[in-house]
């Protein structure tokens, strides 16, 4: 461990890892909420005005709202589909937490979806949509429209022995399509994704482009590179959201999910998600032009931008403190950055100029072949994934009722998630593997304090 401690000292990281600690005492910062219960991902920032609270709750209602088939009396809430995955945003982000993959044979994907593409680049510069099934496999459709089918996921167990002799079992997904509504897919690239937790997104949205560029330009140890996923071309925007950072802003992420997951159009995506081969889909009635108006999009954006991040727990517990040091010493902090500063957010001024602890650099990194989905997305290759924020991760079990991590939910606990790290993260993973079990447990205890 002497070498590890030396790395800590050299990196100057000890003592600057925890913005929630001042003078050794835990305090709740303006962007945090002291709640470790199942509502911890659902709290507004504490200092919202009365008008802002009203707006927050309006956005929450829309996020939780099940959308209806058009036409309907609820003309503000109609326009579901024609093709869609689930009825509501919250379906994939229950209690604003992570989605879960199917566990058993025949179980439907309730909070998981499949991204689809074919070889080549689409007109927008990103992945080229499948000509028949589009960019996302929609298992549901409104009456009168044929759903795209049903995917089934099975898990393949893979055993790995750690240096101390411990045997761990990892699992990887295997997909099949027992039902297809529009014929065989032919050559296709498929990427299974579970919903991500949605707290702190406004803060990440407020991190400036310059900060991302500077993070990408930094020299990093262990062969870690990290780069910005550039989206579009005139001029390119910097990706921040999505498992591959293929969305440049919170607003774009919301509008993209409304279209892809619910089939709800917006001014950002005015066309329904029907391919030329899906005639009934193209003929289906619409719920407005667009279906989600700008005021509604504003409210949802405000809601997600102003969800507070749960404050850390157990920060002074010896095991947690030890784990925090080990997390840094193993090199995890190279990508899972414990400290970022938000820029001058023009949309939501109260989110500007804050020191935050998201444990992400928002950059995409080569995570090795084990996690590759073989599906490039803008500049991200199949092996590259955005560093996911870790704030709130320790509440996953409580909020989601099961622990499932990584883009497809394959990891059943935090140790499994770490052991899947490869590519640029391989050196950090090997250091973790080399730790004695109590030290590995300490590192996990630290993660559970986030």
């Amino acid at each position: 461990m002497g070498g590890l401690l030396m790395r800590l000292v050299l990196a100057g990281l000890v003592g600057c890892l925890s913005p929630g600690v001042a003078g050794g005492e835990a305090r709740v910062l303006s962007w945090q909420v002291a709640d470790a219960g199942r509502e911890a991902f659902s709290r507004p920032l504490a200092d919202l005005t009365e008008a802002e609270r009203e707006r927050f709750f309006r956005g929450r209602s829309l996020f939780n709202q099940s959308w209806v088939v058009a036409p309907a009396k609820d003309d503000r809430l109609d326009g579901l589909g024609p093709l869609y995955n689930r009825l509501a945003c919250v379906s994939c982000h229950a209690r604003n937490g992570r989605g879960l993959p199917p566990e058993g044979q025949g179980e439907r994907m309730q909070s998981m979806l499949l991204r689809l593409s074919v070889a080549g680049v689409g007109s927008h510069g990103g992945a080229r949509a499948h000509p028949v099934y589009g960019e996302q496999f929609n298992e549901e459709a409104i009456p009168g429209v044929t759903p795209e089918g049903r995917a089934e996921l099975r898990w393949i167990e893979v055993r790995r022995r750690l240096p101390d002799g411990s045997l761990v079992s990892l699992r990887r997904p295997r997909l099949s399509f027992p039902e297809l509504g529009y014929g065989a897919m032919g050559p296709v690239r498929i990427s299974p994704r579970v919903g991500q937790q949605v707290v702190g997104m406004g803060l990440l949205d407020a991190v400036s482009d310059a900060t991302l560029e500077a993070l990408a330009a930094e020299a990093k140890p262990d062969g870690v590179k990290g780069r910005v996923n550039r989206i579009g071309s005139e001029p390119p925007e910097l990706g921040r959201f999505g498992h591959k950072a293929n969305m440049s802003s919170l607003r774009a992420q919301i509008a993209g999910a409304f279209l892809g997951d619910l089939g709800i159009t917006s001014t950002l995506h005015p066309q329904e998600n029907c391919t030329p081969a899906q005639a009934a889909c193209r003929r289906a009635p619409r719920g407005g032009e667009p279906e989600l108006d700008d005021a509604q999009l504003d409210d949802v954006e405000f809601y997600l931008a102003h969800l507070a991040v749960p404050a850390r727990r157990d920060m002074r517990a010896p095991q947690v403190r030890q784990g925090e040091s080990l997390f840094a010493a193993a090199g995890c902090v190279t990508c899972h950055r414990p400290a970022l500063r938000t820029g001058d957010s023009s949309r939501f001024p109260r989110l500007a100029g804050l020191d935050i602890a998201p444990y992400t650099d928002l950059l995409i990194h080569d995570m090795g072949p084990g996690l590759s989905d073989g599906r490039p997305d803008f500049q991200a290759s199949g092996r590259e994934w955005r560093t996911p924020p870790l704030w709130g991760i320790g509440l996953t079990r409580r909020i989601t009722e099961r622990e499932r991590y990584l883009h497809d939910g394959r990891a059943r606990n935090l140790t499994e998630a770490i052991l899947w790290h490869g590519g640029e993260a391989a050196a950090a993973r090997r250091r973790f593997e080399a730790l004695a079990r109590p030290r590995r447990e300490a590192l996990v205890a630290f993660l559970e304090s986030l």
């Binding site: 509502e39 009825l87 089918g149 399509f177 032919g186 989905d373």
Partner: protein
């Protein structure tokens, strides 16, 4: 009507990614799986859990959920072929009665053994067997104990406690015109205390309260946030918040009432076997236990389930056995809409005026008080008026029928005018305008 998906069992997908190997042979059930189309207004927290559990119990069926608010369900189900719907599953008693009257339902294809069909004074299953209760919800008071302790207020036990002047500024009441569960809430004291005393009680309660509408915040948000000490609510919103850690209590008043949700099979169900399976599942021990999930917290209709529920879980059947829950939901179902509308006219719209009058009334001498009190507490109309079938139909149909809307609106204006005249006379007595 939903097209049934044709399985493409021989589909072969060449998977470019490292993870997926699509096109594996389909399991046997995939070729025979059929849709069960369910029309509902339940939120995702309910739907997703029943969906997962039902499909696990019945892998040959796939649930397809069509979502419609209760007031929008009838037009959908009146479509040709009833929109392809197999099962209607929602908390909208009046809609079920209407569907039955239109012969849009078939008799339930399941036995109802172990389901009492009533809670105290409320009949929750259709006596003719066309629909059955799938859960019930109670009404009461969400309480923030820390808030009440800070303000030196007692925990209210019954409606009359809320009328005490000490609660002025500390109550939250859902607006029954905007909040779907609230009309029954309004009707419970009207039945429990009688029409005249009930309205008088409401007047005093409203004077202490502010209203919450449908802006998106809930009573539980406001009470949990310490913005009020007591909030009137249907139970499950608050019970779920408590189950998930909110430092609140929920008080079921001695004069309580329940509102059932129901399940029914449509007469034109394209998949009656699947519909039967779903209804059986909803009413089964396993299905009923799902209602106790911390994110749902509704009250099962199968009494045997309560023995396995968390300690302290409210059991309305046990309360009814002790003489509680005398509320007549059959009577309330018809008049809920006009009662809510009247409440809106005489209390919600002039709330500030009414609160000011009550402040002055409470400070008035006995002689003035005895003259002014009746003016603030008189019912908006005779009870017979809201019990009149034609009046009830006008309010029920007002969204769809212009003539019904005109009739309902005329009644509202009349009630409002009468109330305003009383309030004006009270102002003359009490001072201030």
């Amino acid at each position: 009507m939903a097209q049934r998906l044709q399985p493409a069992r021989r589909a072969f997908i060449r998977q470019a990614g490292a993870l997926a190997a699509a096109g594996a042979s389909a399991p046997l059930w995939a070729a025979t799986r059929r849709d069960v189309v369910v029309l509902t207004a339940y939120p995702d927290a309910v739907v997703s859990r029943f969906e997962a559990a039902f499909e696990k119990a019945w892998p040959r069926y796939r649930l397809r959920v069509v979502w419609r608010m209760p007031h929008d369900a009838l037009p959908y189900l009146r479509q040709p072929g009833q929109g392809g719907v197999d099962v209607y599953w929602s908390a909208s008693p009046r809609t079920y009665v209407q569907l039955k009257a239109e012969k849009a339902l078939r008799k339930l294809p399941v036995g109802l053994a172990g389901l009492p069909g009533r809670v105290g004074g409320s009949v929750i299953d259709d006596p003719d067997g066309y629909f059955a209760a799938s859960e019930v919800a109670g009404y009461g008071f969400a309480v923030n104990p820390a808030y009440l302790a800070r303000e030196g207020l007692p925990v209210p036990a019954d409606w009359t406690d809320l009328a005490r002047p000490a609660f002025a500024g500390h109550l939250l009441v859902p607006d029954p015109v905007e909040v779907g569960f609230a009309p029954v809430l309004v009707d419970i004291p009207l039945q429990a205390y009688g029409w005249d005393k009930g309205w008088a009680l409401w007047s005093a309660i409203v004077a202490n309260a502010r209203f919450v509408g449908r802006g998106g915040n809930f009573v539980s948000d406001e009470i949990d946030g310490g913005r009020s000490g007591v909030g009137l609510s249907i139970d499950f919103f608050v019970a779920a918040a408590i189950a998930n850690g909110a430092p609140l209590d929920f008080v079921y008043p001695r004069q309580g009432g329940v509102n059932p949700a129901h399940v029914a099979v449509m007469a034109g169900s394209p998949n009656p076997a699947g519909a039967k399976a779903f209804v059986e599942f909803i009413l089964s021990e396993g299905g009923q236990r799902i209602l106790a999930h911390p994110d749902i917290r509704k009250l099962p209709v199968r009494p045997s389930v309560y023995a396995g529920l968390p300690s302290g879980y409210h059991n309305p059947f046990a309360v009814a056995e002790q003489g509680g829950y005398r509320y007549d939901n059959g009577r309330g179902r018809g008049r809920a809409a006009p009662v809510a509308a009247a409440f809106g006219q005489v209390f919600v719209q002039p709330r500030e005026r009414l609160a000011g009058l009550w402040r002055r009334l409470r400070a008035a001498d006995t002689a003035t008080w005895s003259k002014a009190w009746p003016l603030l507490t008189a019912p908006p109309c005779a009870e017979a008026e809201v019990d009149d079938a034609a009046v009830q139909q006008a309010f029920f149909a007002r969204r769809d029928d212009p003539a019904a809307e005109a009739r309902a609106r005329a009644l509202e204006l009349d009630w409002a005018a009468r109330a305003q005249a009383r309030y004006a006379r009270a102002e003359a007595l009490l001072g201030g305008a």
